[in-house]
Symmetry: C2
Subunit: 236 residues, 2 copies
DNA sequence: GTGCAGATGATTGTATTCGATTTGTGCTCA
DNA sequence: TGAGCACAAATCGAATACAATCATCTGCAC
């Protein structure tokens, strides 16, 4: 997670404490430690990180551009509560871009990359066998990381940034609408994609990727949880 | 441009004056009234819009997430000066997503949409025949608007947002590296795409779209303008 | 004349303050 | 008892103030 930092923040990496707060909250959201709808008060965030509201506000603003946080005027910031429609759009976008990204990545991949990815999958596999919330969380994260590694290999920062957003929001969606621990079924598919890449069978890799995303989405229970809006969720 | 506003800002549309400033600067950049490398001092921006530095800063920050503005720590904000590599990545991303978006849009398009788009192209054509900087600027903008209309028809906000970013940055790139007024050659291609859509010949539309983007990129003179950095550009 | 050191001015980074808006609570009155 | 209104608390929105950083300019030594 260390050397990724450079890739994760292509523009204005410094920005003092804002970036730090942003990353921390982002990770917390992706790992499900913050559940959708949770209120993120500027004062609370600020005091939590020992900074003023100014920086907290900037961080929350930044997260709202990624779609992870919803800011309502004069109300405050809340962890995003993606609607089923939003979820569908996110996965439609992934279906659209990921095969293309994979194709580009395949052109740049080295054997070193392949073994590194294999290691990543092995780690992911270990997590799968563990029980408990933290393992489950780490698993969600690791599952996303595979896709991010692929997009990094495409050597296209614009696309990589977009994928970061999509993966983060996907995690949120899975956390919300995920039916089972069936993300484990995705694990095999990750391996299969990697095998195809190793054999330079790019078309098969893309096919598998498409099925993979399809499977993830199929495991969701995309039914409206709320009648009018997510308003009620705040009070809990 | 009025009713598009709702689409343009899916999240947190209010945000007081920040959004206004952001739109104004964004439009100025896209229309080439602000050239790449120009310094955007927080105080200057603030006094220009009669707001405090706080709001100016927020607007610049927001623009930096779109890639239109570059913020350097303790240095300030500058209109982005995309590198040739960045330009290539932007167009690679467009090549990747636009055919897919077009395909989705084709599924939703109505005859009303088609006539509206025809009108848009007609307006664009008028601008092409005019001379002068302002006409050229409006033409650049109109050319991008066609692609944005298509992405709006895809009814996928996530993808639409991404396209907004790509189109805006493309304008910047064209302003920087554009060789001729050859964006006019793209006009015919827009028409051709629309004709294919009208005939429900989706594959041909996608093909044309790919060629179109290719042509735009081919018209660029993607050679590094600066040796070390864009530092010199600031002083001018 | 050239090069380094310190001072100075401008600009950004962050905190604090004041004002506006919303929400929640309790009171009054029908 | 319940609806409506008014006041109070909390939170956000924006502006201002202060601190830190960087760029430049000057002056002195070599």
């Amino acid at each position: 997670m260390n050397d990724r930092e450079a890739i994760l923040s292509p523009y204005g990496e410094g920005d003092g404490g804002t970036q730090h707060i942003r990353e921390a909250i982002r990770t917390a959201i992706v790992e499900r430690r913050l559940s959708p709808g949770t209120k993120l008060s500027e004062s609370d965030v600020g005091s939590l990180f020992n900074v003023s509201r100014t920086l907290a506000r900037a961080a929350l603003q930044a997260l709202s551009y990624e779609g992870l946080v919803r800011v309502e005027r004069n109300r405050g910031a809340f962890v995003a509560y993606p609607s089923p429609e939003e979820a569908r759009q996110i996965f439609a976008a992934r279906q659209l871009v990921e095969p293309g990204i994979l194709r580009q990545a395949a052109g740049n991949i080295t054997s070193d990359d392949i073994s590194r990815l294999k290691q990543l999958l092995a780690d992911e596999g270990k997590l799968m066998n563990e029980r408990g919330q933290t393992a489950r969380r780490a698993e969600i994260k690791a599952s996303g990381d595979f896709h991010l590694e692929i997009s990094a290999l495409s050597q296209n920062l614009v696309l990589h940034r977009f994928m970061e957003e999509l993966i983060a929001r996907s995690s949120l969606v899975i956390a919300l609408y995920g039916r089972s621990t069936a993300s484990s079924c995705g694990h095999n598919e990750h391996e299969h994609i990697l095998e195809c890449l190793a054999k330079n069978n790019i078309d098969a890799a893309c096919q598998t990727m498409l099925h993979h995303i399809e499977h993830i989405e199929a495991d969701l229970d995309l039914r409206e949880r709320r009648g009018v809006s997510l308003k009620e969720a705040f009070e809990l």
